[in-house]
Amino acid sequence: MSPAQTKSEPPAGLLAELTHRCPLGCPYCSNPLELDARELELGTAAWQRVFSEAAALGVLQVHLSGGEPAARRDLEEIVGHCAKEGLYTNLITSGIGLTKERIAVLAQAGLDHVQLSIQDCEPHSADYIAGYNGAFARKKMVAAWVTQEGLPLTVNAVIHRANISRAGKLVELAVGLGARRVEIAHAQYYGWAIRNRAALMPSVAEAEAAIAEVEALKQKLSGTIVIDHVNPDYYARTPKACMGGWGKRILNVTPSGKALPCHAAETIPGLIFWNVADHSLADIWASSPAFNAFRGVEWMREPCRSCPRREIDFGGCRCQAFALTGDARQADPVCHLSPHHGRVQQIAAELSQAGAAKSAAAYIYRRVKQREPA
């Protein structure tokens, strides 16, 4: 083991996917294609133990996510437990399943912050993207209930071809909804998004126009709303510091209790994940084979190994390296130094043209796989 493995800092954040159940079907969902069924979900007591272990380990913030976390009837109990442990508790929600009353109870239980997804600022388009009629209208109500309760609100908008021309309008919508923060996140191609890549990929011209518009708003609205901008990485030159480094800042627990270094990590073959049912969170963080697989810089090859940015972006994303090159130890090909970089831009250009040729986006909506008849 390298020193980086034995002396790893505690994780700052825990992303807890309480359930994979969700009424929406967003075609860019970051959940895996194989979703955990309800019967496999950890129960209330098991999650409470995980959050207590997280607090003891040094986790500062928990992000209650899914699927749709409000699909769990014990959400209020879970939030109360996190608050009691002193954890900063963030609810990442589609809003569907929340009521004014439930939000009041969650606030009372100690919830710190709500992040609400919005699919578009045009109702029809928003509902089409979500695959759920009435979603947009409901979300506006949820945003009002959250701010009336005095809870800070973040709006999360995933940007892709269908809404990219309205990236700036989405920021304005977030301001109008009373959000203090907005995430303008260009779709990242993992999970369902990679399956829907052709329907989602914007052209380079659309991407550049949206980036310029949002960056200008960042300056203009400083002090009114914080804009966090996630770049469209197929069009980038340097890769993102995925998860702030593998096994460095964040851990993710799936509905069935598997601990992952990132939510897409299961797409990399050969990694061994431990389950919170069998190991403590501290044990997992320090010793789980999956967490140590790409920790630090020892695993790197060139051009990462000698790169001055190796501890800035950590070679980018392992899952993306695997998805686009077939080898998780390669540099993320989003990087201009990767021998595969040209191929990424070519894929993006080809897909955006092929997709744009179709009149309407034909999405493969995210849904739990139907059981095969016996």
Partner: protein, 96 residues
């Protein structure tokens, strides 16, 4: 659009908004300012400033108190406090 104050006047009564809080972490032996999707390490000076931002004390009163506490130059403290508060207000992590 919401009208938000981002200038730090001497009569400002700075306050950490709901969803932003100071926390001591025993695992690391350090203080952090926790905010929506943000974790910011707070040094000793920042901690002393931030724990005085209770929405009651004015900027002037906070600066007086810090100058006395640290037996330090008031003008210099005022500059530091204003800089920190303005930076946090721009990130919506402080209400003025």
């Amino acid at each position: 659009m919401t009208d938000v104050v981002t200038t730090v006047g001497s009569g400002s009564r700075p306050r950490l908004p709901r969803g932003v809080r100071l926390k001591h972490d025993p695992a690391r032996g350090e203080w952090f300012l926790l905010a929506p999707e943000r974790v910011v390490k707070a040094d000793n000076i920042a901690v002393e400033i931030l724990r005085r931002c209770d929405g009651t004390a004015t900027l002037d009163a906070i600066v007086d108190d810090l100058a006395q506490h640290f037996s330090a130059d008031r003008a210099r403290i005022q500059t530091d406090v204003k800089a920190l508060l303005a930076e946090l207000a721009a990130k919506r992590m402080m209400d003025l």
